[in-house]
């Protein structure tokens, strides 16, 4: 899924991009309202994060124009403007959510996941290139459309990347997947492999789904190769 981050502050923009990439999204950048509109029209992202106070065109203007062209694409405002009227104006322009600065990483993740779930509900499986049908892997039941897994009824929130990983492993039971394969399937063919990135993601995934992350039962390490799911 593609997410457009329109924010004039470079640090915030890159920080948000990193959070979103870790979550499994491919990220498009825009440093002002005009670039945001151009990128929207060219790339047609699945989710849009807009700062309100931007040069050239404000986030409100960009939101209004995007809404006229596409009434369904999820839009989140990220802004320091905290007045009630600012939020009301934002929602009136067609935003789906409003995140107030300064925000925590977890807050952004929670909101972006909520928006993604709504996005899944709107789009078809083919458009997502993702299997949205629930499946079981190990002792957990995965609901891709809800970005959630449950074990004995206890829910675990998952990121898009987590779903991508689990979907890949579930489709390849008993097969050791090497790093290039995992990167190609999960990150896309153009992504430059970074071993540490993969390990960090797997580590995070294990913390969420494994009973004992240090003794994983679902996503196991195959030394010198990569990772494997043994049903």
């Amino acid at each position: 899924m593609k997410v457009l981050v329109a924010e004039d502050d470079q640090n915030i923009r890159e920080g948000l991009a990193e959070i979103l990439r870790r979550e499994g999204y491919s990220v498009l950048h825009a440093s002002d309202g005009a670039v945001a509109l151009e990128t929207w029209r060219r790339e047609q992202p699945d989710i849009i994060c807009l700062d309100v106070m931007m040069p050239k065109r404000s986030g409100y203007d960009v939101c209004k124009i995007i809404r006229e062209e596409n009434p369904d694409v999820p839009i989140l405002f990220i802004s320091a403007k905290t007045e009630e009227i600012d939020k009301v104006v934002g929602f009136e322009f067609g935003a789906d959510d409003y995140i107030i600065k300064p925000f925590g990483v977890r807050e952004v993740i929670a909101r972006i996941r909520a928006v993604t779930r709504r996005c899944f509900a709107q789009k078809s499986e083919e458009n997502n290139h993702l299997n949205l049908n629930p499946f079981t892997i190990g002792d957990i039941d995965v609901e891709p459309a809800q970005l959630r897994a449950t074990r004995n009824g206890s829910p675990m929130n998952l990121s898009l990347r987590d779903i991508q990983f689990l979907t890949l492993f579930q489709k390849n039971p008993g097969r050791a997947l090497d790093r290039p394969t995992i990167f190609r399937e999960v990150w896309g063919v153009n992504h430059v492999p970074n071993s540490r990135t993969l390990d960090q993601h797997i580590s995070s995934l294990r913390k969420r789904i494994e009973v004992d992350p240090k003794n994983p039962q679902i996503v196991k390490t195959v030394h010198g190769v990569g990772y494997r799911y043994d049903p």
Partner: protein
Amino acid sequence: MRLRIQILLILVFFIPVATLTWLGMKLIATEQEAVQTRMVKVFEEHLRDSETAMLEVLSQEEESISNYFEEIEADKIPLEPDHPLVKQIVVTDSIGSLLYPDVDHVIRSTERIEPSFHRFLSEDREETFGLIDGIISDYKLAVSAQENEFYEKWHHWDKGENSGLFFMKKMESGDIIYAAIDETALKSRLIAALPAKAAEEYALPLCTKLVDENNTVIYRFGSFDPVNKKDLPVMFRSLSSPMERWRFDLYAPTSFINPTEKISNILLISLITIGVMITGFVLLLSKELRRDLREASQRLSFVNQVSHELKTPLTNIRMYAELLEENLDDELQESEKRHLNVIGEESRRLSRLIENVLTFSKEKQKKLNLEPAPGDLIEVVESTVQTFLPALKQAGISEVNIINKLETKTVFDPDGVEQILGNLLSNVEKYASEGEKILIQLNEVNGKHQLTFLDHGPGIPTGKEKMIFEPFQRLENTLAAKSTGTGIGLTIARSLARRMGGDLIYDPKYKGAGACFKLMLNPEKTGP
């Protein structure tokens, strides 16, 4: 100020003024109409009196001529009558046969002959007699039953360029005497009857003209002098017989005729002046209001700008600290984790400080908006405490107990309560950390939902219980003071509580160690 409001304000002032002006003009018009009616009566009376004066003269002359006829013996009718108005006498019998003058009469050159008679005596006598016949026969045919009405009356005679005035009388013998009247003499007697100055008793300057059928002015009288020759008379009166070829034209100053015009002009100028003044006032007022709004907008814009400028770097500090923490979670040593934790905590503290300052600023500008709604108070309390736990632990507070005895929902704004509780916890962290314990109780007291906040610190010194809620007041204001802070935390907390329909108080009667704050909020209304 919107153009629409400006126009509305102008109309609000202008319409009553215009209405009053219209009523005034209406009153004046009504008054003037009454005056004009009186003026018309005066004019009519003046012209009637003038005509009456002339008719009286005519009546006198009729009698005079009639008496003169009585004195003339039939056979001694003078060729040159010695009555001042009679130029010539003609006598016919009752059927119109000429009796006098004799057709064979020889005219002596010294005799003065009326030109018309001269013609009949010379060449036009048939025609002249034809006309006389015509007059007589017409009258006989028209009013045969009342022929007497045409005798002892004035009659006009027209023949081409000639015209004349006759007076007819039927004698006892049945003969009819026609007297050709000296019109000039008669005219001068009639004019002499007219007043030299008109309507002096009315104190009105008028000009009355006696005008003939060719609009030639025969006579004029009155003190008013129409300047413009094209001025029309304000009134005219056609005169009765035998003056039916004359009329009176009455002239008066236009100010008499249209005084309202002058008054209307004055009122119009007044109205325009008032309108200009009102418009100027409204424009000035709107300019002042626009300036006030601009300044208020600039102040708010400044607050928003400061908010944005402070929150942007704060966002980066917090976000990157958390990213670092997550990225290096397994690799960090305890000290490094603590360092990152400090960065995160301080950024959150800075965030709260900024929020307090902005809230204080908005409160001053009456722009603080809260949306109290029913909810579970315990949820906000627990989440806020959870956020503060790391900082509290770092400050030495090892125990935070929360006891919830509320069974119904509370009406509150979550952000507001979070900020209130945040300020109380922050104060404990600053002033009462040596107490090591905090107790938060939620229960219903006297129909209110009460959050009791107890610490075990040094408490509030006696006499300073009210001071702590005043802005910029700290228990220690010196540079050497141990604790830091802006002194607006409790001010804001109380303000927020009151905006939610509740209150925040300090309970000085609390006997235990430390300070006791009570936040009172309203329970959700249920049932009828």
